[in-house]
């Protein structure tokens, strides 16, 4: 038996059939009905739920796993987890803010109209129509087709504008610049809160401290510590000392 039919069967049973079953659930039918009606409130609600559910759950998992990850050095573990928590919380807040502002269709349309609305005013489109009528390439264009074409163009370009603004403002600037910039100092506070019941923190001796001027307990490296202890236990040295 070749691999292809087997893979197909696996995909059928593991993915396609469950997806088909999902598509026939009452919940999905309700969701699709709202999408058919273009119910903005409902669709927006799904967006918000998606952000809170996905990012909230993700944040919980990342924080929990970072805190319990023994592979991360102990003196850095809480900060990593704190940064995960601050980042996650801020990410939810930012995404929600973006969802209702720059990534919002109404806001994007408003911004587009403010910036480029003059290209779509009635007098402007009238001269555009006149220009298009002179175009031999297309032949005669009915008024109805011109308006349909213009409507489609405007819809497409507002979508394109929305994609670009969301990508630059939300995905790049807000999520990758603003969030880490605020999350890092916030993580200091979160870490302090996480460590409120801990013994005083010890910092590894190799760790550079460029900002905090307070003295910290520094762990001496094992070799040094052993050497110090060996002072008493090393027999030849002891004999030398006794001499």
């Amino acid at each position: 038996m070749s691999i292809k039919p087997v893979t197909r069967k696996v995909v059928d049973y593991a993915i396609r059939k469950p997806l088909k079953a999902l598509s026939e659930t009452k919940f999905l039918q309700h969701v699709e009905k709202q999408y058919r009606k273009d119910n903005v409130k409902f669709i927006s609600g799904i967006g918000v739920t998606s952000i809170v559910l996905k990012d909230g759950f993700g944040c919980y998992l990342y924080v929990k796993q970072s805190l319990n990850n023994e592979k991360i050095p102990e003196d850095k573990r809480k900060f990593v987890a704190a940064l995960d928590l601050a980042n996650g919380g801020l990410m939810i807040a930012t995404q929600l803010l973006m969802h209702f502002t720059i990534s919002n269709k109404k806001v994007q349309t408003w911004m587009f109209e403010k910036l480029y609305g003059k290209y779509f005013t009635r007098p402007a489109t009238k001269s555009l129509q006149a220009l298009l009528a002179k175009n031999d390439k297309l032949g005669p264009i009915s008024g109805d087709n011109f308006h349909k074409g213009l409507k489609k163009y405007k819809k497409d370009i507002i979508n394109a504008f929305g994609c670009l603004t969301s990508l630059v403002a939300a995905s790049v600037f807000a999520k990758r610049v603003v969030v880490p910039f605020i999350a890092t100092p916030l993580a200091d506070k979160t870490k302090a809160w996480m460590s409120r019941n801990d013994k005083p923190a010890v910092t590894h001796k190799d760790t550079k401290n460029t900002y905090d001027t307070e003295e910290k307990d520094i762990i001496k490296p094992e070799a040094e510590t052993n050497q110090a202890n060996n002072k008493d236990t090393n027999l030849p040295n002891k004999m030398k000392q006794n001499k």
Binding site: E32, K54, I72, T184, A187
Partner: protein
């Protein structure tokens, strides 16, 4: 992704086979300038900035993933490591900052291996008829899916040949869809794992016809509302202004016309109009003149200087020579209102809107009362009304290709269903993937740091460990 060859053969035979040659062209597909041709040409006439937005904004999902990941990998770490507001030591911040590029690399991997393939599976399922009728796109398959089918069946085709074939198949499937609605008042669907086809029930078709008529009714009602509440009052206000300020308006506009005619290019016209606009702003009684200047500015957006001159002159001449003399002789506002409302164009337009609403309501009522009326019958009745018609049927011309509108409604309904389904299933998959991606990051990240930045993770490289041992040997503390 697997692509069903049988399905392609179905398309292929319909598209290019004997059936096509023998088919009588009962349906008239008006070629010339289609809506998408007009859209493309409009884009060519737009200024460069809008063309750039149009081009860049229609990018692929992959591009978004890459930009997002580049942001995570290169921007976010900068603001963690070199954060002036943080008091945490630099090493810890550097150690944490490296989590970002590692997570970006993993995100690309996860999305490449899970999200995109999952999306493709759904696309293939809807295009091959795996789902129920509400999510079945076999009557209007996606361009990408058709391209894949053509490539799979004809690996020898060049890129251009593939594009030609895809375009032919798309055109053919669209014509088949409209023809099926027109001739049989149904839509034929294919299904996965079988060569049998099914047809949409008459009850379902009735729903699509009703939904199409309701859309038309909504659009006509909104247009009528706009006409009554915005356009007519605006026209009355402007006409009343002409009546009360005929001489100022005439002087202003003729002066403006002379100035514009002296201007050598569009930039100079723009300057003149801007200065006029500034001088009129804030003066309540000149609001109408300000509106006129703004309308004239709109005429500069497209075309050459000659076009701008012609359009501006035509508009000013119409106002000065026709509208102002017509309204200045009236003695009251009431007379202005009656003149505006009695205008032939206004009467025709209102009658057209009222007529369209009445006729569409008539069709809707018949369908809702379970009268067995096909899309073709509605189309024929609309055409007959236009043929025999008066002012009342002028707006119906927009809807004379009714079967085409039903086909569009059918497509948008299925698309909306699929969009809703994709949103929820995508959310589900992303949520289910979270524990996996989280575990993966927690596994890879510390190991990556140990291997690449041992000093940050407080681990010594094996060569450093050797140095310690050698040093110890020299001191005579370790003996082999």
């Amino acid at each position: 992704m697997n692509v069903d060859k049988v399905k392609f053969n179905n398309i292929s035979s319909t598209a290019y086979g004997q059936t096509l040659q023998n088919r009588k062209n009962n349906v008239n597909f008006k070629g010339a300038a289609s809506v998408s041709d007009v859209t493309t040409e409009i884009n060519n006439l737009m200024p460069k900035k809008l063309r750039t937005i149009y081009k860049l904004g229609s990018g692929s999902e992959l591009r978004d993933i890459i930009i997002n990941s580049l942001g995570t990998a290169f921007l976010a770490p900068i603001f963690i490591k070199w954060n002036p507001l943080s008091k945490t030591d630099e090493d810890t911040r550097t150690y944490s900052a490296w989590r970002q590029p590692v997570s970006a690399a993993l995100a690309v991997g996860t999305q490449g291996l899970i999200t995109i393939p999952f999306d493709r599976i759904v696309v293939n399922m809807v295009n091959s008829g795996w789902f129920n009728d509400a999510h079945n796109k076999t009557a209007f398959k996606d361009e990408k899916y058709i391209t894949k089918l053509v490539k799979n069946n004809h690996p020898e085709f060049t890129k251009e040949r593939v594009e030609q074939e895809v375009s032919k198949i798309q055109k053919q499937q669209n014509e088949d869809l409209i023809r099926s609605i027109k001739e049989k008042d149904t839509i034929t669907l294919q299904h996965a794992n079988t060569t049998k086809t099914t047809q949409i029930s008459s009850e379902e078709m009735r729903k699509y016809k009703i939904a199409t008529l309701e859309d038309i009714l909504k659009s006509e009602t909104e247009e009528l509302k706009k006409f009554n509440e915005v356009k007519i009052p605006q026209r009355i206000a402007r006409s009343e202004y002409y009546r009360l300020h005929a001489s100022e308006a005439t002087k202003f506009l003729t002066d403006l016309q002379q100035e514009v005619n002296k201007a050598k290019d569009k930039g100079a016209i723009e300057k003149i109009l801007t200065s006029k606009e500034k001088s009129l702003k804030g003066k309540a009684q000149d609001k109408e003149l300000l509106n006129i200047v703004q309308e004239l500015r709109g005429m500069l957006v497209y075309g050459k200087t000659e076009d701008a001159h012609t359009n501006i002159n035509t508009k000013i001449d119409k106002i000065v020579k026709k509208h102002i003399p017509m309204y200045q002789q009236l003695d009251s506002k009431e007379a202005v209102v009656n003149t505006v409302k009695g205008n032939e164009d206004i009467i025709k337009r209102k009658a057209g809107l009222d007529g369209a609403i009445e006729k569409i309501n008539g069709f809707l009522e018949r369908l809702k009362n379970n009268e067995n009326i096909t899309s073709a019958q509605i189309e024929d009745e609309i055409k007959a009304l236009i043929k025999n018609g008066d002012n009342n049927t002028s707006r119906l011309k927009k809807y004379e290709e009714f079967t085409k509108l039903v086909a569009e409604k059918y497509k948008s309904t299925i698309e909306a269903n699929i969009k809703g389904f994709k949103r929820i299933s995508g959310l589900l998959v992303a949520t289910l993937m979270l524990p996996v991606s989280c575990w993966l990051l927690n596994w890879v990240y510390p190991r990556f740091m140990d291997a690449v930045f041992p000093n940050l993770s407080n681990k010594k490289h094996s060569n450093e460990a050797h140095e310690y041992i050698d040093k110890a040997n020299q001191n005579g503390e370790v003996h082999k």
